[in-house]
């Protein structure tokens, strides 16, 4: 009996929530609500929905505009590009960590180089580490072959803020090709990105003039000259 009776009342609850019942209908329904907790709960739930209606604009109930079909592809492409560049930076950081540890462990070693193979199938990118540096100083670089020559991500730490750094790539013929300049700033952790018009496969060494000091690290084939040096293990 109760459910049958409630069905009748319940179907008035919508109009009640919207304030659409006549005075008599409302009085009768409220009398029912007094004694029926289930209907009271439902009335409260509908009242909260009814309270939201004034916020909406009925002129906007039609179909919403859809995103252009190429947007998804564009987002995927952007993420893909960012993921690649992150992977590059991550490899670069691994290289720096390694170089830093090596610099402390073997202060007498003159120069060392290591080439990380990277995670994506033999990337031609190379990581260069400078050693025999003054205590607290770290210099490292990641080199990436480009159509125009070589892209160089320089990382410097521990020298005087404001020091002008000039970077060169030394070719197999012994000639230096300028890769540009940058100033080291305290707190600036970002690598300076430079470029040189020298093919990475023909580069022998990376040369950095920081203030009045000069640091040289071999690249690629230069490794051969270091055969007698103790070799570092590859970081995992």
């Amino acid at each position: 009996m109760k459910t049958d009776g409630c069905r009748h009342w319940k179907e008035s609850l919508g109009a009640y929530a919207l304030g659409h019942l006549s005075a008599e209908e409302r009085a009768a329904l409220e009398a029912h609500l007094e004694g029926c907790p289930a209907c009271r709960d439902e009335a409260a739930a509908l009242a909260s929905v009814a309270g939201l209606l004034p916020h909406a604009d009925p002129a906007r109930f039609g179909p919403a505009p859809l995103p252009p079909p190429e947007l998804g592809k564009r987002i995927a492409a952007t993420i893909d590009a960012e993921r690649r560049s992150q992977r590059r930076q991550r490899r670069f950081r691994i290289g720096l960590g390694f170089g830093g540890a090596a610099a402390t462990a073997a202060a007498a070693a003159v120069l060392a180089i290591f080439v990380l193979s990277g995670g994506d199938g033999g990337s031609p990118e190379q990581h260069v580490s400078f050693r025999s540096l003054p205590p607290g100083v770290r210099i490292a670089a990641a080199l990436e072959p480009q159509a125009y020559g070589t892209e160089i991500h320089m990382y410097v730490k521990g020298i005087s803020s404001g020091t002008l750094c000039r970077v060169y790539m030394r070719g197999a013929d012994g000639r230096d090709v300028s890769a540009g300049t940058f100033r080291y700033r305290w707190g600036g952790d970002a690598a300076a990105v430079l470029s040189a018009a020298l093919d990475l496969s023909r580069a022998k060494a990376l040369v950095v003039h920081a203030g009045n000091q000069t640091f040289v690290a071999p690249i690629g084939a230069g490794e051969a000259a270091l055969r007698n040096q103790p070799q570092e293990e590859e970081p995992t």
């Binding site: 179907e11 919508g14 659409h20 209606l53 947007l71 952007t78 960012e82």
Partner: protein, 169 residues
């Protein structure tokens, strides 16, 4: 590795398929500029991907999370727009309040789109247009009691859809 749901590109594609239309629809409503809305949606998914490891489905739905990111993106875009002198004179306010109001409005409008045509129709006629039930019933060719019950089931459906969308009162 991470337990976050958006750490792989495939996750982003799935999130895009499930939520981009809604985010874009809202961005267009909020920014009143389809080009800017595209920019906002793109930035939202980029930020979601970058912060993918921080997304925890235990805490809230992906949809809620994406809308929270979009909120920040829209506010940033509003600031950028206001910073441009020519537009700033037009009075673009990079304020949060219009966003929340617009989001609420948009959610109700989206819920209205998702309920049945019959239910939406009686709510529009009786509530938004303030027409008498008898008149609406005559126009639809149904008894007045049917209009009344459609109002009831329409509000119920609206509540269910809003809950599915993550709305809490």
């Amino acid at each position: 590795m991470a337990s976050g749901a958006l750490t792989r590109e495939r996750d982003v594609r799935e999130a895009y398929a499930a939520h981009a239309a809604e985010l874009y629809g809202f961005a267009v409503r909020s920014l009143a500029d389809p080009g800017l809305a595209e920019e906002a949606v793109q930035e939202t998914f980029l930020r979601a991907w970058r912060a993918g490891e921080r997304f925890d489905p235990q805490i809230g739905s992906l949809r809620t999370w994406l809308f929270a990111i979009l909120r920040n993106v829209v506010i940033d875009l509003g600031r950028a727009r206001a910073a441009r002198p020519t537009v700033a004179e037009g009075g673009v306010e990079p304020s949060v309040e219009p966003f929340d109001e617009a989001l609420l409005a948009w959610q109700i409008e989206e819920a209205m789109r998702r309920i049945g045509d019959d239910h939406r129709r009686v709510l529009i006629e009786t509530y938004y247009r303030g027409r008498p039930y008898a008149e609406v019933a005559a126009e639809l060719g149904v008894p007045e009691g049917t209009v009344k019950s459609r109002v009831y089931y329409g509000l119920r459906a609206l509540r269910v859809v809003l809950e599915e969308m993550g709305y809490e009162d």
